[in-house]
C-alpha cells in the first residue's frame, strides 16, 4: 500500500500497482539486493563478516548514516538537496558539547544541539522557499557557514563529552540492539509513516512530483519546502547526538564523508533525484549497504584507498539504474 501512494501522487507518471510489479522497480531493489549480494560474497570470503558481533557492529556503525539519509530523503523527495547536512551535524555536536560543558546537563545539551541544527535547516528552507534561490547554492553556502560557525564557537578545539548517559547510548541497549541502532530504527519507522500515512508526506511527494500542479491543488509548496529542510536539520541534530556518543567528543573538524554518503544512500535507495518518488526503506538499505561495504573491505584487509573507490563505483552504478528506469 505504501508503495502505491507515491506513484499516485506523482503527476508525471501514473503507475498502478500491477504494472509496477510487472516492470520490477530495479532502482528500488538495487539496495536490498546489493546488500544481500554483499553479505553473501563477504560472508564467503570471511565468515567473521556474518558473525553476530560484526552484524551488531555494522548496525551500530550505520546508525548515524541512517538518520542522515532519512533527513536527506525528505529533501530529495521535494526535488531538492541538502549539501549542508554533515556540517550542520558538526555544528549541532559543538553546540551540544558547549552546552554540556557549561551546564553539566546532558539532556539540555542534546535539545540545544538538535535545536541549533534545526535552526540552520529552517534558515536554509526559508531562503530556498521564500528567496527562490537554488537549493544547491543555499545549502552549499550553509555547508561552509555551519562549519565556520562550529569553528568559531568552539575556537577550533574539540570538546570532550564525558557522560554516563552518552556512554550508555553508544555501548549498551536492548538485547543485541544498541541504543543508537534503536534510535535510528525509530527515526526510520516514524519517517516511513510520515511520508506515506500523513498529509505532510502527501504534500512532500506532490511538491516534488510537480510543484506547479501541487500548488494548483492547494498545496502550500513554500511551507512544505521549509518543513523538509527544517526536518533535515533536526535529523542532522539527532545524528550529532549519536556522533558525540560514538566518538566521545564534539569535534569542529567536519566529517565530510557523511555528506557524500547521505546523498549516496538516498541514490542507492532508488529515490528519484527529480523528486516525487521516494521510500524510506530504500535509503535505509542504502546506508546499510555502504556501511557493510566498508566493513567488509576492512575485514578483508584491503587498503583504505580502495574503499572510497568502491563506494564511488557502487553509487554511480546505482544512479545509472535510476536513469534506466525512465
Amino acid at each position: 500500500m505504501s508503495t502505491v501512494s507515491p506513484a499516485v501522487t506523482d503527476a508525471g507518471e501514473r503507475v498502478g500497482l500491477g504494472s509496477r510489479l510487472a516492470s520490477a522497480p530495479w532502482p528500488e531493489l538495487a539496495a536490498p539486493l546489493g546488500l544481500v549480494a554483499l553479505i553473501i560474497v563477504f560472508g564467503l570470503l570471511d565468515p567473521t563478516f556474518v558473525s553476530g558481533g560484526n552484524i551488531e557492529a555494522m548496525l551500530q556503525a550505520s546508525a548515524i548514516l541512517v538518520v542522515l539519509a532519512v533527513g536527506q530523503t525528505f529533501v530529495v523527495a521535494t526535488a531538492g538537496i541538502d549539501l549542508s547536512m554533515a556540517s550542520v551535524m558538526t555544528l549541532g555536536a559543538i553546540v551540544l558539547g558547549l552546552v554540556y560543558t557549561g551546564t553539566d546537563n546532558i539532556w539540555l545539551a542534546m535539545v540545544a544541539g538538535v535545536a541549533a541544527a534545526g535552526a540552520v535547516g529552517l534558515i536554509n528552507g526559508t531562503i530556498i522557499a521564500k528567496g527562490r534561490i537554488t537549493d544547491f547554492i543555499v545549502t552549499l553556502g550553509a555547508l561552509s557557514a555551519a562549519s565556520g560557525l562550529a569553528l568559531i564557537i568552539s575556537d577550533g578545539k574539540p570538546i570532550t563529552v564525558l557522560n554516563r548517559a552518552m556512554l550508555k547510548l553508544a555501548s549498551s541497549g536492548i538485547g543485541p540492539l544498541n541504543w543508537s541502532v534503536i534510535i535510528a530504527a525509530v527515526v526510520a519507522v516514524a519517517a516511513h509513516f510520515a511520508l506515506f500515512n500523513s498529509r505532510f508526506g502527501l504534500h512532500v511527494l506532490a511538491t516534488g512530483g510537480s510543484e506547479e500542479s501541487a500548488r494548483a491543488v492547494g498545496v502550500r509548496t513554500a511551507r512544505v519546502k521549509i518543513a523538509v529542510y527544517t526536518l533535515s536539520g533536526v535529523l542532522a541534530g539527532v545524528g550529532a547526538i549519536l556522533l558525540v556518543a560514538r566518538v566521545g567528543a564534539a569535534e569542529p573538524a567536519s566529517n565530510t564523508s557523511f555528506l557524500l554518503n547521505s546523498v549516496a544512500a538516498v541514490v542507492l535507495g532508488g529515490v528519484s533525484l527529480f523528486g516525487g518518488r521516494a521510500t524510506i526503506i530504500g535509503p535505509v538499505m542504502g546506508a546499510l549497504l555502504l556501511t557493510a561495504l566498508v566493513n567488509g573491505l576492512t575485514l578483508l584487509g584491503l587498503s583504505q584507498f580502495y574503499q572510497p573507490l568502491a563506494v564511488g563505483i557502487v553509487v554511480v552504478l546505482a544512479a545509472l539504474l535510476t536513469r534506466f528506469q525512465k
Partner: protein
C-alpha cells in the same frame, strides 16, 4: 526494463571482479596467520594496527615501520588506516570491525583523544593487550570505558619544540620570531609551541603565534601576512613540516630565504630534502617509522609475558644542512643511534 536488468547484472559482475581482487590479499593474511601459530606452538603475535590517514607521509612511514618490524620478527600484522585526518568515526568503525577478528594485540594511533575509546572497550574487556602509539588516548575517557593501554609510545613533543628553539637561538641569536601551530587547541601542537617558547624565553622576541591547521597553504598565507606586518622578523617556527614548507615558500616569495630562518618539526622526506637544499633551515625529525616498529615490538614483548614501561619515548633528532644528506640516506629509519627501550630486556 530488459536494458535495466542487463545493467544490473553488469554492475554486480564488476563488483564481483573488485571483490576477487581483494580476496587474494585477504587470503594471504588468513593462511599466513595460521601457520606461524602452528610452528611456534601458540602465542605467535597476530597484531592489528589502526593508524591515522595514509594521505600523510608521516603515517606512511609509520605503516612501513610496523610492517618492517613485523616482517623481521615473523609476527603477523594487519594495518588499517583512517581515510583522512578528520575521519574519526571511520577510524572507529575499522577498529570495531577488526575487534571481531582473531587478533591478539592492538596497536592504535587515535585521531582524537576519545574517538577510539568506545571501539576499544570490547577489546579491553576481552583482555586483549592495547598499545597506544603517537597520539595519546584521553585518560579520563579511557577510564570511564575501562580501557587501559599497556604502554604509550610517542615523541616527547615539548622536547622536540625545545630542540627547535635551541637551534633557533643558535642561528639568529636575537630578534623577532613568529610561531605557527596546528589546529588551535591541539595538544601536540601546543606542546611543541610550549617547548619552543620555553627554549627561546628571554633570548628571542615572539611577536605572534597563530595557527594554520597543519596545512601548507594556510601557513603560506599566514607567513606572508606576518612578514608584511613585521618587516624585521628573523625567524619562524612551525609545529609541523608541511606548514614549515609553506612558510619557506612564503619567505622565498619575498626573497628573504637568507634572512629568515624557518624551523619545523617532523622530519618528512620532502622536508629533509628542503633542508638539504637550504630552503628550510632545520627540522626536528621524529621517527614515525620507529614509533610504528616500537608498537609492534611492544606487542610482542607483552605477548611474551614481559613487563614493559608504561611510557616509551621515541627518538627525535635535529636535522640541519650539515647532516641532511645522512638523514636522507637513512630515511625513514633514524640516522643517529638511540637506545631502544624495548631491546634491553
Amino acid at each position: 526494463m530488459v536494458k535495466g536488468k542487463r545493467m544490473w547484472v553488469g554492475s554486480f559482475a564488476i563488483a564481483g571482479l573488485l571483490l576477487t581482487g581483494c580476496s587474494s590479499s585477504g587470503d594471504d593474511a588468513g593462511t599466513a596467520s595460521a601457520s606461524p601459530a602452528e610452528s611456534a606452538g601458540g602465542d605467535a603475535a597476530n597484531i592489528a594496527a589502526v593508524i591515522k590517514g595514509l594521505d600523510n607521509p608521516f603515517f606512511q612511514a609509520m605503516e612501513d615501520g610496523i610492517n618492517a618490524s613485523a616482517q623481521e620478527s615473523g609476527a603477523q600484522v594487519t594495518v588499517q588506516a583512517a581515510t583522512s585526518i578528520t575521519d574519526t568515526t571511520g577510524q572507529a568503525e575499522k577498529l570495531t570491525a577488526m575487534a571481531q577478528q582473531d587478533f591478539n594485540c592492538f596497536v592504535v594511533n587515535p585521531i582524537s583523544g576519545t574517538n577510539l575509546v568506545q571501539a576499544l572497550a570490547p577489546v579491553a574487556a576481552a583482555g586483549t593487550p592495547i598499545v597506544n602509539i603517537d597520539s595519546p588516548i584521553d585518560e579520563a575517557a579511557a577510564k570511564e570505558a575501562d580501557v587501559v593501554a599497556k604502554t604509550y609510545i610517542g615523541t616527547n613533543n615539548e622536547a622536540a619544540g625545545g630542540k627547535a628553539g635551541d637551534y633557533m637561538v643558535e642561528t639568529i641569536s636575537s630578534g623577532q620570531v613568529a610561531l605557527i601551530g596546528g589546529i588551535a587547541g591541539d595538544v601536540t601542537s601546543q606542546a611543541r609551541l610550549d617547548g619552543f617558547t620555553a627554549a627561546v624565553d628571554g633570548k628571542l622576541d615572539i611577536v605572534q603565534t597563530t595557527s594554520a591547521d597543519w596545512e601548507r597553504q594556510k601557513a603560506l598565507t599566514a607567513a606572508t601576512d606576518i612578514m608584511a606586518a613585521n618587516p624585521d622578523l628573523k625567524g619562524f617556527f612551525a609545529a609541523n613540516d608541511d606548514m614549515g614548507l609553506g612558510i619557506a615558500r612564503a619567505v622565498a616569495n619575498v626573497g628573504k630565504t637568507s634572512q629568515i630562518a624557518v624551523i619545523s618539526v617532523d622530519g618528512n622526506e620532502d622536508a629533509l630534502r628542503a633542508v638539504d637544499a637550504g630552503d628550510l633551515t632545520a627540522t626536528v625529525a621524529q621517527y614515525p617509522y620507529e614509533i610504528g616498529a616500537l608498537g609492534v615490538q611492544a606487542c610482542e614483548a607483552v605477548l611474551a609475558g614481559q613487563e614493559i614501561p608504561t611510557n616509551i619515548e621515541s627518538p627525535t633528532a635535529l636535522v640541519t644542512k650539515d647532516n641532511a644528506q645522512q638523514a636522507l640516506a637513512a630515511f625513514p629509519a633514524p640516522f643517529e643511534e638511540y637506545q631502544n627501550p624495548l631491546s634491553g630486556s
